[in-house]
């Protein structure tokens, strides 16, 4: 890839914890593109799932606080009860605005803000889920020139979320869960070649 990606956004709903665990355990050690992540989760939950993903990964996975600085080699997780947005290329912000698609954090909100800031320099990844959050977001990323990957709905734990995205967008790749980490590793490698 000649394109040099500056960020990855990933979203999932039901089945997501397992999917994230699998993906994050396979990132290569010096993975450098910053990752922003939304997992639908009950408001008021503690951050056990952040620790869970962090333990699986060589990356530093942490819960985002407002205006947190974006660093390479780190993954930032939306806190329960807040939308996570890309403020600019150096920082993230939070909002307590109403739920979107019955969700807060919402995948659409993150993806839309990432598309706006990064244009063709962002990779959007949509995983398993039993609702249609993320479909409009992945379309926005695609429309602004970003790279889009959706998990194969046939083999996803919950198929509705990837299916809804595929129904409205011709994404770049539909991949099995097992293939996603290695694909991202390749795309990250392309970065280093630059």
């Amino acid at each position: 890839m000649s394109n040099c990606f500056e960020a990855i956004v990933i979203g999932a709903s039901s089945g997501g914890l397992e999917a994230f665990y699998k993906i994050f355990s396979k990132f290569h050690e010096d993975f450098s593109i910053p990752i922003f992540l939304v997992q639908h989760i009950k408001e008021g939950s503690d951050n056990y799932y952040v620790q869970h993903i962090n333990r699986a990964s060589s990356l530093d996975v942490l819960e985002a606080v407002d205006k947190i600085k974006i660093n390479r080699g780190k993954a930032y997780v939306a806190p329960p009860g807040y939308h996570l947005l890309v403020e600019d290329k150096t920082s993230l912000s939070l909002s307590a605005d109403p739920r979107v698609n019955f969700s807060r954090p919402s995948i659409d909100v993150l993806f839309d803000s990432a598309a706006h800031v990064y244009k063709d320099k962002v990779i959007g990844v949509l995983l398993t889920g039993a609702n249609s959050d993320g479909a409009l977001g992945i379309k926005k990323i695609h429309d602004l020139g970003g790279y889009t990957i959706v998990q194969n709905p046939e083999t996803a734990l919950s198929s509705e979320m990837p299916r809804s995205a595929l129904a409205i967008t011709k994404v770049d790749e539909v991949l099995e869960l097992d293939q996603i980490a290695s694909r991202l590793n390749q795309l990250d490698g392309g970065n280093n070649v630059k």
């Binding site: 606080v65 407002d66 205006k67 403020e87 912000s93 909002s95 307590a96 605005d97 909100v109 803000s113």
Partner: protein, 274 residues
Amino acid sequence: MEDEKKDNLALQCLLDIVEKIYGYDFHEYANASLRRRVTGFMLDHKFDTYLQLADRLLYDEGLFEVFLRQMSITVTEMFRDPEFYKSFRENIIPKLKTYPYIKVWHAGCATGEEVFSMAILLHEEGFLDRATIYATDFNQVALECAKTGIYDASNVKQYIENYNKAGGTSGLSEYYTSSYNAVKLRDFLKRRITFANHNLAVDRSFGEMNVILCRNVLIYFNKNLQNQVLKLFRDSLCHKGYLCLGSKETLRFTEVENDFEVVDEKYRIYQRKS
């Protein structure tokens, strides 16, 4: 010029008009959530561009009222982040009880759910009559709603759960009456609350406070405005006064970081150094 710069220019133009005509300054709001709220409003009201909206707002005061509401809708609940209230009860209340009289400023109180939560907490600690709570917001519609103390009954189950987790010593139902689809908080809770219109982005301090609560408001501001407002809070607190932020807001890396001690890092309770 790139499209993005043009797009930004148009948005700034819209914000200029809002500021100059109506006196509300959104220039220093956080980009991402500001853009989302404005474009959401445009979608609902069928505007294609920032300039179309700006053009209408020039003359249409009625539309501005609706716009302003959209620009400040935040969602809160009674005893939001119950563990914060628990920590406040355990760590702060005993210190406050050493004062004969305290002043509490709830900055950006929106529709007031958290103000009544604090009033209930102070009441249960036998302390409400020695307190004055100033509840302020720049959104008059939200403030009017707060003044009524009337809330949708469908949320009450969540409020009760929160109240219990927050260490409530009675039952939440002690504090409201139900009718139809609404609950009304009991009037005695309001006796010590003064509601007032105050815009953190432009208005000044009003007095020496023992406690300032400003939870999930600063997330809507950019770093500049955050620092400006945090200095306003610092200067509005008495020595050893407490500042309480939202659970994902932090004083770390702000310009007032060294002016405060951390009382509870997890639930964002800070104390002004003397």
